[in-house]
Amino acid sequence: MTDTLVRRARAPWKLLLAALALLAAAPAARAAPGVIVSGSVYVDYWGIQDQTVAARSPRGVTWDASLKVGVDIHDDLAFSAKACASCHGIELEHMVLDYQPQSWFNVQVGRLLVPFGEYPERIDASGHKTASAPLIYDMGRMAYGEKTAFNLGVLPQPYTDTGALVYGVKWLGEKIQVWYGVYGVSGLKGANDVDWMAMRSVPYTDNNNEPAGGARMVMAYSSDPGSILGDAHLGGSFTAGRYDKAAKLGYMLWGADASFRVGPFTVRGEYAFRRTDLDPNGKYSYVLVDKYFQKDGFYAELEHPFGKYLSFVYRYDELRRNGAPLPGAQAALSTDSRIKRYSAGFVLTPAQAVFMKAGWEYWDPTDFTKFQSFHVGFGGAF
């Protein structure tokens, strides 16, 4: 047992070495033709005045760094890998071979960034204006996100999994592009509800013999330059599978997302929903009638520039949990629990690829203490 423990404890170090090798190779790779290197670094401070809330929340300083290397092997084949460093050390967001023979038919295999929702496409700190992630997609930096409370949101992003993705692009005329993708992956893991720590722990293999599947489709409209009505998109995502070792407990997620621009204002929103089967043999604090629970939520955002260097962003988001709390859950968690959050902030870009973010948030949960907080962060991208 001890040897096994030690061997498995060493396994994350192998992954760390692989990620460090990627970091070390990047500068040399950048000089080579057919190689694209990009990355970002962001440091954020989350301040919570209420000490009772602060003591149980992941407040304080955190950092996010990423390094992505893309290599064109030949006309139809590329390699891409992205290492991310944040709260739980260095991880690989993706590492894939990308076969691209036709615009309408491409295949990615490896450790994928599973396409669900629009937010993952802007997940780097330099890609979005808010100082925090939407509640539905937060990965470990939300209040009341403990396993015995909300157990995070609907689908912490980025959702990285092992499998294959078939995707393509089709144009409808000159202005509307449709992106579509279908995939098979190992799927989410857990015992009674999804275990997010197990999702990012080695081994990165399926915990049952049933792969999960899913799909995403996006329609994007490209506007004419100078048009008041700007670019817009509409997307839908779906994935389902079984998450326990015995492959008896299922989950199903779907989401919708949209954005559009009117003059200088950009409006975007996303909705995500997850239904998760509960272990009928668990000891719940409520009598189990329907043997599943639901988690859903949405965010709506408005952003606009103010001058050459400043942008403002406003967001409202909600996260809801309906169903019996899990065994061992905090007594405060009810069968119909919600968190509403109001956010406002700005991004200052004093020079190219360098930015500062600041934001204020007011958290309004039904079952826990209300509080307000602030973020201040600095970062850059290349």
Binding site: T2, N192, D195, G236, D244, K245, N322, P327, G328
Partner: protein, 152 residues
Amino acid sequence: MQRGRWRALTRLALCAGGLMAGCGPTPTVGGPAPGGGTPAPGTFASLVSDVFVPYCSSTACHGGASPNYYPQLDADTTYDQIVGAPATQASLNLVEPNDPAASYLVLKLRDQQAGAGGSGTVMPPPYAAEGQLDEATIEAIEAWISNGAPND
């Protein structure tokens, strides 16, 4: 062609709206189960919700049926898995009622397992995402053991 394209876009938009509306019913939950309610501080139930579930019961470690590591520390299995149950790393029980010093669980939490002929790393391990237990929490576990390790 133009009309057909807009018809397709309209259908797609309506489908998206239909999906939004068709979320499905929220699950029905019965009344409080017998023995439910807020666990009192210092009870085993409070240790389950404050310690064992958040710190130990990930399926990457001690959680789920056939967990990666012994013992299984889920909410409804922990008591039977630790009280009077033998450790695999030393000739001690994981929890010896009334005797925290002879409980292998306490030795692992305090990183004192080697002195008892045990092995392995401190629990929770240093690389655990939830961090390690503070002194007050370990003392609460010791107090519960000293009181006979009741299943309360």
